[in-house]
Symmetry: C2
Subunit: 673 residues, 2 copies
């Protein structure tokens, strides 16, 4: 390596950190064809342990990129949650069984698979869609970040306001030593109890020889975890406090007579603390175990040297008694101190963004951390992609903090409540006021279940969500250009009519029901027709197109659609058109009954057969009744705009001039003129 050699380069988006959030961002970059880079200070990907619960919404997102099936096939599926509590004799008993997630919300259920596999799927997908041009650059450390304030508002092609200095580490620098010297991987060096090692690496690197690179870039996304280097460069803080609750985590193959070891379980013992059982793939079980005997010192931090697999399993044995629990194989272990913190700012001047643990940290037991982190990046990625390509207005970037900070706040509020209920001693009876009521715990669990699915996310009114009313909670707009955006939005946002499709809720992700391809009769889940390719969807619920009146309405709408000078350049490239009609499939013919714009002709490949669908009975998979489930009137239908991330942005009438104006007005608020 050439000492002190410095290269210079340019890219559009630089991602710092290749955990789940960074990889999600990179996946969007690959699918949108953006000139991006992703760097990580570690020299290898992780291979086991870490976060592992995948929410239904995360699986829907994976499916939109094309790899949910890999996770679904390898993972353990969580079906039932059992609650164990002490009886009057102090002995634990199963008190409740509830479904792990409510039925009917998604075509997926919650699954568990370790983070190393999930990162593998991301890496493979990025490789495929970027045609091998985008890959994680490991053992690369950012050393400085400078923002040229004068250039920040100039989002044009040649404006690179940010300069980042990267340094290429030696293997030795990039791989921190395991803390316990054993062959079992522990997670302490990446847990929130470990010392932040980034500064150490920079310290050490100053004494070493290594090449550096100056990167000029348009946007930086810090996905670099709870100790985020990027966040510190911006001077932003996480707000919140640690608690006194210390928990250990063991990934083991358990040898036990506890009957529910293959169920998700919450176990409250009478006086030895609590434990959560998360069954995993390959016979593994993850145990979250409260370590009641370990207390933080005066500085608020616990003595990590006292925590070993042996102290953790001992604590678990006391909680689970009279059942026995041992193991011969341990795959991974760690420990953490519960705390909830959220960032004050999610972006700086719409140029540097923070996602995932870099802006919110909390306890892992709710199975949320990785999911919310990935979903942060999923919210941001397409917006960045479309701004870089010059398709949408740059102020759209302000919706990232507006939409995601509220989610993070909700998450830590939930975690704050849930952690205390879970870590608290169970009440002996109704008079025991310092104990936790097991009824309260169950209620909190059920209440949080919907939240924990990832499906309750409801984004507020913005240039992207044409809601009729402002959200109750006004987003905090510190340090971003968002306030201006909200002002502008008010002027351009069209009026939605939610009553036309009550169950296609504005601001929420499109629920999925099966529809049939008009030309092949094949059933498809509607959501699978909206892959994450950076395109908005114009969803025409065309109604009964065999009725002459409705056919006239549809043709009038389509005439406007084809003739719009504003939208013409965006059709098909930035706006995909999908039609779902409600007439009997066998009475309808694609070429006869639908305007060409809905199934366009290509001189090399003929008519498009994959854009017109029908809500009708299938031979093998029953009748989904999509119109009925969305609450859409079967005769007259409606039109909806769905964002590239599958969230509903607009609902209006499908009727000539009036319907058309709503749609065009939505897109005028979004696209560059």
């Amino acid at each position: 390596m050439n000492a002190l050699e410095t290269h210079e380069s340019k890219c559009d988006v630089l991602i710092v950190g290749a955990g789940p959030a960074g990889l999600m961002l990179a996946t969007w970059m690959a699918h949108c064809g953006i000139n991006a880079r992703i760097v990580d200070k570690r020299s290898t990907k992780i291979f086991n342990g870490q976060a592992d619960g995948l929410q239904m919404r995360s699986l829907e997102i994976f499916d939109s990129f094309g790899f949910a099936d890999r996770a679904w096939k390898e993972a353990n599926h969580m079906i039932e949650m059992c609650m164990w509590n002490p009886g009057e004799d102090g002995i634990i008993r199963r008190s409740d069984r509830v479904p792990d997630v409510p039925a009917g919300l998604s075509r997926f259920t919650q699954i568990v698979l370790h983070q190393g596999r999930i990162e593998r799927f991301f890496l493979d997908n990025i490789k495929k869609y970027s045609k091998d041009t985008l890959h994680v650059e490991r053992a690369v450390l950012p050393e400085s970040l400078e923002i040229d304030e004068k250039l920040c508002d100039d989002h044009s092609q040649d404006s690179y306001p940010i300069t980042v200095k990267l340094r290429y580490l030696t293997d030795e620098e990039a791989t921190p030593a395991q803390s316990n010297g054993t062959t079992v991987q522990d997670g302490l060096f990446r847990s929130n109890m470990a010392e932040d090692d980034t500064d150490d690496l920079i310290q050490r690197s100053r004494e070493k020889q290594g090449s550096t690179e100056i990167v000029k870039t348009k946007y930086v996304v810090g996905c670099d975890g709870a100790h985020s280097w990027t966040r510190r460069q911006l001077g932003f803080k996480l707000e919140g406090e640690p608690t006194d609750f210390i928990w250990g985590v063991l990934d083991v193959i358990p040898i036990t007579d506890f009957p529910d070891i293959r169920m998700r379980c919450a176990v409250h013992s009478a006086s030895s603390g609590s434990l959560m059982v998360i069954p995993r793939e390959n016979k593994l079980v993850r145990l979250y175990i409260q370590l009641t005997e370990i207390k933080p010192d005066a500085s608020g931090r616990a003595d990590r040297s006292r925590i070993t697999p042996s102290t953790i399993i001992s604590a678990a044995q006391k909680i689970l008694a009279p059942y026995t629990l041992t193991y011969q194989y341990c795959d991974w272990w760690t420990a953490y101190q519960i705390g909830q913190r959220v960032g004050t700012n999610f972006d700086s001047r719409n140029r540097v963004f923070l996602a995932g643990d870099a802006v919110h940290t909390h306890s892992p037991k709710a199975g949320q951390g990785m999911n919310v982190s990935m979903q942060d990046a999923y919210n941001l990625g397409w917006k960045l992609g479309l701004v870089v390509k010059g398709v949408v207005k740059p102020e759209m970037l302000g919706t990232y903090q507006q939409e995601r900070r509220k989610i993070a706040q909700d998450l830590i509020d939930f975690d704050h409540k849930f952690s205390r209920l879970f870590s608290g001693r169970p009440a002996k009876d109704v008079m025991d006021e310092t104990g936790v009521s097991m009824k309260d715990f169950k209620d909190a669990f059920l209440q949080g279940n919907m939240f924990a699915s990832g499906l309750s996310v409801d984004y507020g009114k913005s240039m992207l969500v044409a809601k009729e009313e402002e959200d109750e909670e006004v987003p905090q707009n510190t340090g971003s250009t968002q306030t201006k955006t909200s002002q502008e939005t008010k002027n351009t946002t069209p009026k939605s009519n939610q009553s036309l499709a009550p169950n296609l809720p504005l601001g929420m992700r499109l629920p999925s029901h099966k529809v049939l391809n008009q030309s092949s009769a094949q059933p498809h889940h509607l959501q699978t027709l909206l892959p994450s390719d950076g395109r908005f969807r114009l969803l025409l619920f065309a109604g009964n197109i065999l009725s002459p009146a409705q056919s006239t309405r549809l043709r009038s709408f389509c005439t406007h659609l084809s003739a719009s000078p504003f939208l013409a350049p965006h059709l098909y490239t930035n706006i995909d058109i999908l039609t779902v009609h409600s007439a009997p499939r066998v009475d309808v013919e694609l070429l006869r009954d639908f305007p060409d714009v809905l199934h366009r002709f290509d001189e090399k490949t003929g008519w498009d057969y994959d854009s017109v669908f029908v809500d009708d009975v299938s031979y093998h998979e029953g009748y989904a009744d999509a119109y009925g489930k969305f609450g859409i009137e079967r005769e007259t239908g409606c039109v909806a705009v769905v964002r590239p991330d599958q969230y509903v942005g607009f609902v209006g009438v499908l009727d000539g001039e009036e319907g058309w104006e709503g749609v065009e007005s939505y897109f005028r608020g979004v696209f560059v003129g």
Copy 2:
């Protein structure tokens, strides 16, 4: 390459030909851990064209090896079949729509994906399960095959009765020139109209320098196609005649106004011949087109130089008129002359076997060829594997011809009838006796639909199928040791009691319904619990195990099971035990209610949680009612033995001594003592 150098080596199974049948055989070898080799004279795998329809049964088999999901994801799914016939005015009209396959037969439907992808999945699976020890050796040509008759009946470890000489070709030899010199791949060089090129290659190779290898092997399987070199070495014949019907095949992206181009269609024109539409993946459509203007000469063979994509599309245009049809992209094309032929012998002395096109050829339109070929090899593979390992009696190999020759005969009988109905001119009216009645055609199609699913296969009584009655059709046992086998079988086969589970039919593949894991509540299709790993399954339908009487019956049965000196060495290694009970899941506990033998303890990994299941309601996937669908009494249940290929071998009572004797007697007839 060292001229005339000759190596010598040994292997247990040598597979000649790496098409779908050969790859299926190799997949079994990989899953059973057999020392096998597979050679193919061509230098590369195929990349497009060829056979492409996958029956439901083939997908079930793929799933048992672990790769059905890949095919399912990439393929086009065939849902509906449309029939087009001339009206009184001679113009074609859609006369019928029927489901492509009947509903409810399988968890899969019929799909279409080109052979190159299917071979890819096999290759990847073989690599994974053989731990990269078994791979296709391409550009390797067998030159001679000798059988040492004296050793044939000695199936012991050190007996290698067969000697095959292999020669390593140069690239030039291994890749035949395309017949038309264009960049579009055509299939003529592998179709049944092409000259057999194997002998040519041997001729040419005599003038070239190349190394050869002498392989001593126990078994050879010839999967080397219609012109099988292996078959010719054995002196076996295919019996049957070609017809005068010549068909062309085009894989194109069609540009057309024909409304049903994305449906499977059978189109009979008034006087221009017939056409079949098979929609494919990636916008492709396969067209089978009758070439009425091409006739065979006096030798019975057609002039191939007259057949080009242009003559084929012209024929299609006439058939489809007044609809238009053109294309700009052609992926592959070929032509063939219909003929049905079946081999006299499927094996020689239980040492050399023939599978697939090597023993039966027919027209491709029934979508059967590749499927029946793969299913031949699927029937043979585990038998070879278990004989090589010394687990089962060598005479079991005789059941290959017994079971598969009847299937081949049924296939060509069906194809004979179907081809003539399809290639014939439609009758103008009921008085038109030389025309084909379109009602007869539809009836034949519907009748053949079940056959074409691959699910109607019903193997006769043998050492592997404890049927109460002999099959009506006695298998032809020419040249194999099968007659002896049948004699022996009669003495040892136990009595099944089919009435205990009427819909778990002896000799047919296990139908699949969902059951729940007792320990995790996860639903599984029963068939997915029977992966192709070479093990027989003892399926205990344990009934209502909360009833004391039934619990006593089950425990008595299990006591015999654990105590049997004959079966003890086979339990878990060669016989997997699966239990499905019918008591309410939440009232049952694995460790309390089931004998240990049903969920054995391992000192490193604890109890087995993946062997006991329940027929109960699931949270997300409804209630499958497996007992009801199998016709099994819910209180008392029954016991079944399922072969390693998922075919039902035995059904009996689950009741102490009597039930146990049936099971032991079945396995005494199968396993080496």
